[in-house]
Symmetry: D3
Subunit: 249 residues, 6 copies
Amino acid sequence: MPHPRIASVVAVEPHPDDVEILCLGTLLKLKQEGTRLTIVCVTNGDKGSGNQPDLPYPEVAAMRFREASSVAAALGAEFINLGAEDEYLYDTPELRNALAAVFRRAKADVVLAPSPHCYQTDHTIASEIAFQAAHLSALPQLRITPPALPALPALPSAPAMYYYDTLPGLDFEPSFYVDISGQMARKQELARMHTSQMASMKSQSDWDLVEAIEVLGRMRGLQSGTRYAEAFRLCARYPRLKAWTQFPA
Amino acid sequence: MPHPRIASVVAVEPHPDDVEILCLGTLLKLKQEGTRLTIVCVTNGDKGSGNQPDLPYPEVAAMRFREASSVAAALGAEFINLGAEDEYLYDTPELRNALAAVFRRAKADVVLAPSPHCYQTDHTIASEIAFQAAHLSALPQLRITPPALPALPALPSAPAMYYYDTLPGLDFEPSFYVDISGQMARKQELARMHTSQMASMKSQSDWDLVEAIEVLGRMRGLQSGTRYAEAFRLCARYPRLKAWTQFPA
Amino acid sequence: MPHPRIASVVAVEPHPDDVEILCLGTLLKLKQEGTRLTIVCVTNGDKGSGNQPDLPYPEVAAMRFREASSVAAALGAEFINLGAEDEYLYDTPELRNALAAVFRRAKADVVLAPSPHCYQTDHTIASEIAFQAAHLSALPQLRITPPALPALPALPSAPAMYYYDTLPGLDFEPSFYVDISGQMARKQELARMHTSQMASMKSQSDWDLVEAIEVLGRMRGLQSGTRYAEAFRLCARYPRLKAWTQFPA
Amino acid sequence: MPHPRIASVVAVEPHPDDVEILCLGTLLKLKQEGTRLTIVCVTNGDKGSGNQPDLPYPEVAAMRFREASSVAAALGAEFINLGAEDEYLYDTPELRNALAAVFRRAKADVVLAPSPHCYQTDHTIASEIAFQAAHLSALPQLRITPPALPALPALPSAPAMYYYDTLPGLDFEPSFYVDISGQMARKQELARMHTSQMASMKSQSDWDLVEAIEVLGRMRGLQSGTRYAEAFRLCARYPRLKAWTQFPA
Amino acid sequence: MPHPRIASVVAVEPHPDDVEILCLGTLLKLKQEGTRLTIVCVTNGDKGSGNQPDLPYPEVAAMRFREASSVAAALGAEFINLGAEDEYLYDTPELRNALAAVFRRAKADVVLAPSPHCYQTDHTIASEIAFQAAHLSALPQLRITPPALPALPALPSAPAMYYYDTLPGLDFEPSFYVDISGQMARKQELARMHTSQMASMKSQSDWDLVEAIEVLGRMRGLQSGTRYAEAFRLCARYPRLKAWTQFPA
Amino acid sequence: MPHPRIASVVAVEPHPDDVEILCLGTLLKLKQEGTRLTIVCVTNGDKGSGNQPDLPYPEVAAMRFREASSVAAALGAEFINLGAEDEYLYDTPELRNALAAVFRRAKADVVLAPSPHCYQTDHTIASEIAFQAAHLSALPQLRITPPALPALPALPSAPAMYYYDTLPGLDFEPSFYVDISGQMARKQELARMHTSQMASMKSQSDWDLVEAIEVLGRMRGLQSGTRYAEAFRLCARYPRLKAWTQFPA
């Protein structure tokens, strides 16, 4: 596959597993076309142990890093964690620059980010950081030098940016749906590799990761005339908004 | 081109020239891929003579039919006029059925329609007729027999439906943009074939058809990172909403 | 149960089965409290035979009337059909009056109606008819005499009006959710009595009535912290909007 | 006052008294500047006798015509009634033309109309009729001949159109507020001339015309930093939307 | 009253008196049912001396603390002040944790918070802090230890969260209204105990606390068919959104 | 011109040139009436050198300060720069106070600010700072002392606040339009004085400052029935929302 339609996609997630729930089917589809995939997690997810409330935070972070890395490896994606503190994410210059550096290094054509209207503050803040980082990544005059690395050249233009669905489909008016009926089995299989989150979510609600994926995917499929789908929304702000070369289908 | 991505598109317009202003660039693009194109006009446009206010209505209708047919011929599209009275369009069973019959006969995969929030009532009513006709076209139990013709078989599923932009971009939040930079010159050339409307619009405002196309196209291009674009919005209602097979680009 | 919290509820549906899909769980719950229930269907549903496209329309209407009546009987509700033509519903004075007469006769405290933004025109028109009928039902100066019956006294005040969810949850921002986890089994059992629609829907899509109920109920449940829920929206227009006597829970 | 800023304003109301409740303060203000005022009522209001439910409809219509005429006379406005049936208003070609004829005859610069999202169907339909009539009034090729009168010349351009507030401020996001603190006393005095409606409204709710005016005016004043105000919304659709010559204050 | 319908409600306010203006009638109603009430104020309100601009800030804070405490005592609620600086509120980890600790200690079932679209930044920030704190309060793995106190156990599930109305009803689309006609006299009596704010507001506008309560309550009542009402909006985000056990009335 | 309708307007911009693109035509119009004009820029714009990416940041800031000052001088406005870092603007107490001090010193009647939904974070943050500063400027109890200056007296009431358009017209629903056809030539002439930005923008897109002004102005003109217009939106929040003394025209 020497020429994928979209060369490089970076998916930004607040915690390890958000991408798995909300847009993994689409990433699997893009991978089949040859798109380069990067998943970048903004926080360390160290509060994600609802079923084992007494686990030390650093152990939780380490466990989730291993799980997310395994999924990324199985998907054929690079996984990066920016290490901010779970549940207390703030929009800092350092995180904006770190994320813009990821976009530059990956030569991102497309950024997938959480919705600015999502279910907890880490999500909305991660969305805002991605929003500004997409802009910064294409400013040649902005010299971003990651620690111990030379400056990364700016992107020729800002990546197209899309918001993936919210959990569980609340306060989200999709711009479009992608059919993932053919990717659903694999999506659930990969999501199940988040062993800790399967248990943690179940302990805090009546559903686990894979059940949430099933219900949301089925609902978005019902809405859009197929078995399973994922929903997305344009970030309709210059310069992240890009006209498409084809009428979509 | 034996296998276009989208086999058949029907563009619905309230008056002869609306498609030219608002989505002709996209139709030109689809034509290049081999898509079958149909333009169906709901009214006869017989009030479209602002510059010659005393022209008898039937003459205006005839003149505009000739102009719209010429554009369609140059584009390689079929042109159909349903003949309702200009400025006094109402949603009738006959028009719903007539439009559903067009969708069936054209085996439409995609319907492009005016926005339900457009600048005059013929537009909003044409939008509503198209909305219900898209649904009716796929009901096998609904037997539509155009005058003097056998019953048309129902579509296997309702066509995907999208709204094209409003004139001039008011009360319209696009779901996506299509780059028509490569089609703009031809779009304007074809639009200019509406000689009567070039003069009529100019007499009622400070712009003519081609100037409106230029400003709106440039604005949508500026918004979406290209020279010229056209904007569309999902009709986000079952069963006209369809998941796409590809992530768009 | 001499004093139910809500004495009488009328649920308006465009076709026989809409109430079953979208608010039957809530009706079951109200029934348990002793609320008087009326289901009024606006069209005869005579196009609902997707799986048997050649069935004569009157046979379809008769079959669906039997099915809807059976469900209503099992629920303990009155069922009324206003007999308008399926797929071609228009807002007429006769239908407004007929519906207002139903509200008056049932002494409705609450009206449940389809959303004005639903998936086909019969739904949106039924919503508009119910909107005006709710107002008319409480005008003492409006003398409504159903055929062959004396005039019905006006309601002391317009019923509170709520929109039930859309199929399948599109273009609908809920004002609130009702937990129907305890009613779900019975809801599906009753819906299954629409034998014709179970088959008709399946033939036109990949789901049947009960699957749609399952997915939508599960999704609304996931959103609102329970197993299964139904979603509603205020009709926020005077005089259908009523302050509640209690903070809800 | 030879040169008022706005030469002629036409206020459209569904029933006799809507203008009094919702924009009379602004009309009083414009009158002081020398603006020509026309109030056109679309229905005959013959159902407006909540306190005397047995009054024959024609008597109600006649009584309300007298009341509305008196208010208009006191204001220095022309009053016209188009005579459609109260509670059963539909959008017909005849009413569109009749209203467009009023706009032409009054040489309207500005049209004030009910919101398309108002509390009963007569209001929303009157809003739609005014919407299309504003467009028709400026089409020179549309020849409108009122019964027994010569054709009226088209307006040079469509009047600017604004929606006045809803009763009671529901589903209405104002574009701007006009300070009517200095007009409030006179507004209430004139409204009180609707003797029948003072009694009719009181009999159907806990407020009468003047109380509603007081509460709504006070609320809009509180919102906009003054004692009493009226709220308006742009009709943001071509060609009814007009840039202003001055930044407002 | 051993079993109130709602066991514990926490109302969050940016400044001492916001709860009094915007939801005190509902709190009075809940109190009658036996609900445990807590009012938590985020800032110290030390800029609230418009009528005495030279008063030292600490004196203002002390005075307002006394006033708010008196109201709470009269209502039978606990009053807590988190002590952030008035007019300069920011979303910090400390405030999130402090507020989550209040929710945990009060075993909150329901949180009432300012709208995220309110009239000054302290309100929108307080809304955001409450939003995240509601989530944090139910994470067992999050160990919150208030100064000099043992860790508080997490709530079994996040409290249901609702936004109360804005001052003065701007940019707020209510999800529902609560009838407070029976509580209005007492609400105004309690509000009047904010002697300093009665004078401060009057000095900065043409209304005082009690006048604002009167106008807003009357307007919300007019909208919802009663004398006086308060308006609320769902926080429609997981896990703060809860299905109700009853259809509301 | 001893008595302009609006005595003093302050236009807030995130970077030097935003006012020029988005509301300079209106400022030119107000200047003709005798309004006192102040332009206050929040950041130093030191990243605005897309065409010369290696220019040291302080040089860029100095160059842009000169350009913006020249435009302001030619316009007859005061220019102030608050000096925050370009691309990394945050909402701090110092910036709130500095901006409120500008409003106080200019005795602002009207504040024009960027939209809270604009294309990059500096814009949305500048909008939020202006939002709170407008409120702070009218609190007599808030004692703002700019460095080395005595305390500035509070404004008698908060300035009216309006958002100017976004670049390029995205996510912005105008409340009103101002006709700038007569000001367009001068607007473009002044904008061209931003020599560095003419080149920098062109290097990052296919348009420069003046082309963007042309397209946006023409589009807003087409929408509002004139050649060129600028669009504004109310900040519909107390106390920045003010009723107007006149119906606008």
